[in-house]
Symmetry: C2
Subunit: 214 residues, 2 copies
DNA sequence: CCTAAGTTGCACACACATGTGCAACTTGAA
DNA sequence: TTCAAGTTGCACATGTGTGTGCAACTTAGG
C-alpha cells in the first residue's frame, strides 16, 4: 500500500546471463567436476558474486543443470518406440548415448553424486520404468533372460551403459563406436549372446548406428 | 659420531596401534568414504595427532590400506586357475567377490577415486592382464566374443562386476547372490547368452556358488 | 628404576570454497 | 533521460579438514 510496486520488467540480459551461466557450468563441470563457482562465473563472463543473483546456491545451479539434461534425455527417448523389446532397448541405448556424448564427464559425476536420488530418479524415472518393461517383455517373449528379476537386469543394463561411459572417458571413442558399444553391452546384460546382439545391430544399422556422425 | 645412536628397539604397541589404525580406517571408510582422520583415530582408540606418528598423511594411510586390500585380492586370485578360460573368468569373479564382500563401500570409493591409477593399477595389474588373457583365449576357442578388442571386453567385464557391487550397496544382497550375479554379469559381458552362462554356473556350482556361506 | 618411544592436548597456520552484506557502479527499457 | 534491475568488488563470517610445533605426560623395555 505504501509504495507502488516498482513496475519494471526484468532486464533482458538477465535471462541471457542466466543461460550463459548454465552453459558455462555445463562446460566447466564437464572438464572438472569440482570446478568452483569462481571458474564457472568467469567462463560465463560474470563474477562469482553475481551468480547468487540467479541461483541461491551452487547446488541449485547444478540441480537445474541436471534437471535440464535429464529432461532432454527423457524427451529424446520418449520420441521413439518399437514393439520389439530388444530393439526398443537398443534404440533407447543409442538415443541416450547420443544425448549424453557431449557431456559425458559431467553426466558421470552427476549420476554418481547425491543428485542421483533427487532430480534424476524423478526425471529419469520413466526411462528406468521403460527399461524394466522392455526387460519383462523380452523375458516373456523368450528373447531375454528370465534368471534374474527384471529390476536387477535393468540395473545391469544401466550399469553396462555407464561402464561404456567410463571407458569412453579413458580413451578416445567416436560417437559411432560409443553407440555400438552401448548397444552391445546393453544387450549382453539382457542375456543375448554376442552373436545375437550383433545380429540385432546389423539388422537395424540404419536406426542404431547410422553413419551420419553428426 | 658425537652422540651414541639411542639404541632402543621400537615399542611393541606401536605396531599394534598402527594395525589398529588400518583396521579402523577400513571399517570407518566403509561406512563413510569421507570419514575424517579424527573419526578414524577415535575408532582406533587414538588421537588424530598420533596418526601422524604412523602415517605422514591421510593419503598415505588410505594408500596403504588400498595396497593391502589389492594384495589380498591378487593373492587369492593367484591361488586358483583353470584351463577353460570361461570357467577361469567365473572363478576369478567369485574369488574377487568373496574378498571384497566385506569392504564393498570402501572398495567402490577407492576404485572410483584417484587411487585407481596409482596403487590399484600396479597391484591389480596382473589381475587385469589375466582377465584379458582369458578373454583372448575364450575368443580363440570360440566361446567368447570376437567383435570387440579383448581389452575392451575386459573393461566391460570389470565394469559389470562394479555394477553388481553398486547394486549390492543399493539393496541387501547375500554373499551367495552376489557371487551368482557377478559371474552371470561377467559372462554376459564376455558374450555368453544367459542360458550358457547359467549352464556354466550349474555345471560348476561347487566351485562357483558353494553353499558354505561363511 | 630410567629412559626413549609413543601419546596427548592444544594452538596455529593454511587452504579452499560457500554464502552474505553493502556501497558504488553500469546498463537496459520505458 | 531516468531509474530500477543487475553487476561488481571487497570484506567478512563460516565451515571443514589437513598438517605441524611443542611441552607434558604415559608406557614399554632394558
Amino acid at each position: 500500500m505504501s509504495s507502488q510496486t516498482g513496475t519494471r520488467g526484468p532486464r533482458s540480459d538477465a535471462a541471457k546471463n542466466r543461460a550463459a551461466l548454465l552453459d558455462a557450468a555445463r562446460t566447466e563441470l564437464n572438464q572438472d567436476p569440482d570446478a568452483s563457482l569462481e571458474a564457472i562465473a568467469a567462463a560465463a563472463g560474470l563474477t562469482r558474486r553475481s551468480v547468487y543473483g540467479h541461483f541461491p546456491s551452487r547446488e541449485a545451479l547444478i540441480g537445474e543443470l541436471a534437471a535440464i539434461g535429464a529432461a532432454r534425455v527423457a524427451a529424446a527417448v520418449d520420441a521413439i518406440h518399437d514393439t520389439d523389446p530388444v530393439l526398443d532397448l537398443a534404440l533407447v541405448g543409442r538415443l541416450v548415448w547420443d544425448d549424453v556424448a557431449d557431456v559425458r564427464a559431467m553426466t558421470r559425476t552427476v549420476v554418481r553424486g547425491p543428485l542421483h536420488e533427487q532430480v534424476l530418479s524423478s526425471e529419469l524415472g520413466p526411462l528406468h520404468a521403460r527399461i524394466v518393461a522392455d526387460v519383462e517383455l523380452a523375458a516373456a517373449t523368450g528373447a531375454g533372460r528370465t534368471d534374474l528379476h527384471a529390476e536387477t537386469v535393468a540395473r545391469l543394463i544401466e550399469g553396462a551403459a555407464f561402464t561404456v561411459l567410463d571407458e569412453s572417458l579413458r580413451r578416445p571413442m567416436s560417437r559411432h563406436e560409443g553407440r555400438r558399444l552401448v548397444v552391445l553391452a546393453g544387450l549382453g546384460a539382457l542375456g543375448l549372446s554376442w552373436r545375437d546382439a550383433n545380429a540385432v545391430l546389423v539388422a537395424n544399422a540404419d536406426r542404431l548406428t547410422p553413419e551420419d556422425d553428426r
